[in-house]
């Protein structure tokens, strides 16, 4: 999957086509443990359609991610990864809908700051 697939999907869907707007993290989120971490805040009242993650892993071990909404990751997408150590990934998703802020949980138990960095790219509907 790549950006052109996302483009095709957006053109199929009237909600995204008529009301969607790009919305992404301004800076990467650094994951240092397995706690649930806010990845991307939804604009007030908006739904987020996640289409891309950039993941950089400089941790000693490979990393897998769980991504969803809220503290308990309701509306969770399938676990992604493993992201192999010392690699950078740009991963495309088929516009996964989250009806609020997006959170992430990493399998890296104790990473140094900035060793595991994640940036999320989404389309927001509703602001």
């Amino acid at each position: 999957m790549d950006g052109s697939t996302i483009n095709s999907l957006v053109s199929l869907d009237p909600i995204l086509r008529n009301s969607g707007r790009l919305h992404s993290s301004l800076t990467p989120v650094s994951i240092v443990d397995t706690s649930n971490t806010l990845l991307l805040t939804a604009p007030t009242g908006a739904t987020l359609y996640l289409y891309c993650l950039m993941v950089y892993n400089n941790n000693a071990s490979n990393v897998s991610l769980s991504i969803g909404t809220g503290a308990s990751l309701t509306e969770r997408m399938v676990r992604t990864g493993p992201y192999i150590t010392d690699f950078h990934y740009t991963e495309w998703f088929p516009l996964i809908r989250f009806q609020g802020d997006i959170y992430v949980t990493s399998s890296a138990a104790s990473a140094s700051a900035d060793d595991v960095e994640i940036q999320a790219f989404a389309i927001a509907v509703g602001q």
Binding site: D13, P14, G126
Partner: protein
């Protein structure tokens, strides 16, 4: 004689004001025509503030008829709006709770869904009017997605017209004229230079 035209509010094009400031408007409300001079027209842009969330809707369920408070009109005002859903719901529109069903045929009632915009690019078929504060719009949002939805948002945009009633004698002469009833000579004089645009403000029967 008065010049009467009918606003083409359902034409497949961008929404436009049916009249400008200073022009006359005929509004069909509960089967009768009321006549006004419009003394102010302003736009109501599509925005977060003109969006109403009908709440969470379980799968194969509906929100229940909910009053649309974001398009309540002040008394003496007419709102001219179009709408579209921001979530994957089907919208069933009412003018007045239950009784004023919109988009009806003999045996069924059409709903507005996100895919309606594929055939109706400007949302023109969703055009509706809200006249004064006692005639609110209600919407029931149906969820046929196969999963629960946390929100069911509807966004509105259009125009607001502030209305100044025409004199009762003028209104009654225009009413007779529209219905093809013969006017008295004095009544002809009253309305001979008037230009009036008619809008189908309510679909109530």
């Amino acid at each position: 004689m008065a010049s009467i035209s009918v606003a083409r509010v359902y034409d497949p094009q961008q929404i436009q004001p049916v009249v400008e400031t200073g022009q006359n408007l005929g509004v069909l409300v509960q089967g009768d025509w009321l006549f006004f001079r419009v003394d102010h027209v302003e736009a109501v842009p599509a925005s977060r503030q003109t969006t109403q969330d009908l709440g969470s809707v379980a799968d194969a369920s509906s929100s229940g008829e909910t009053e649309i408070t974001v398009v309540r009109a002040q008394d003496g005002n007419l709102l001219h709006v179009r709408m579209f859903p921001l979530d994957d719901v089907e919208l069933d529109i009412f003018h007045g709770r239950s009784t004023g069903g919109r988009h009806t045929t003999y045996s069924t009632k059409a709903r507005i869904s996100p895919s309606t915009a594929n055939l109706d690019n400007y949302h023109s078929l969703s055009t509706a009017f809200v006249f004064g504060k006692d005639r609110p719009m209600y919407i029931n949002a149906y969820n046929e997605t196969g999963y629960a939805l946390a929100q069911s948002r509807v966004r509105f945009f259009g125009y607001r017209y502030r209305l100044d009633p025409l004199a009762p004698l003028v209104g009654s002469a225009l009413r007779k004229h529209i219905r093809g009833i013969e006017l008295e000579p004095g009544e002809m004089d009253l309305i001979k230079n008037l230009k009036v645009t008619l809008v189908p403000a309510e679909g109530r029967e």
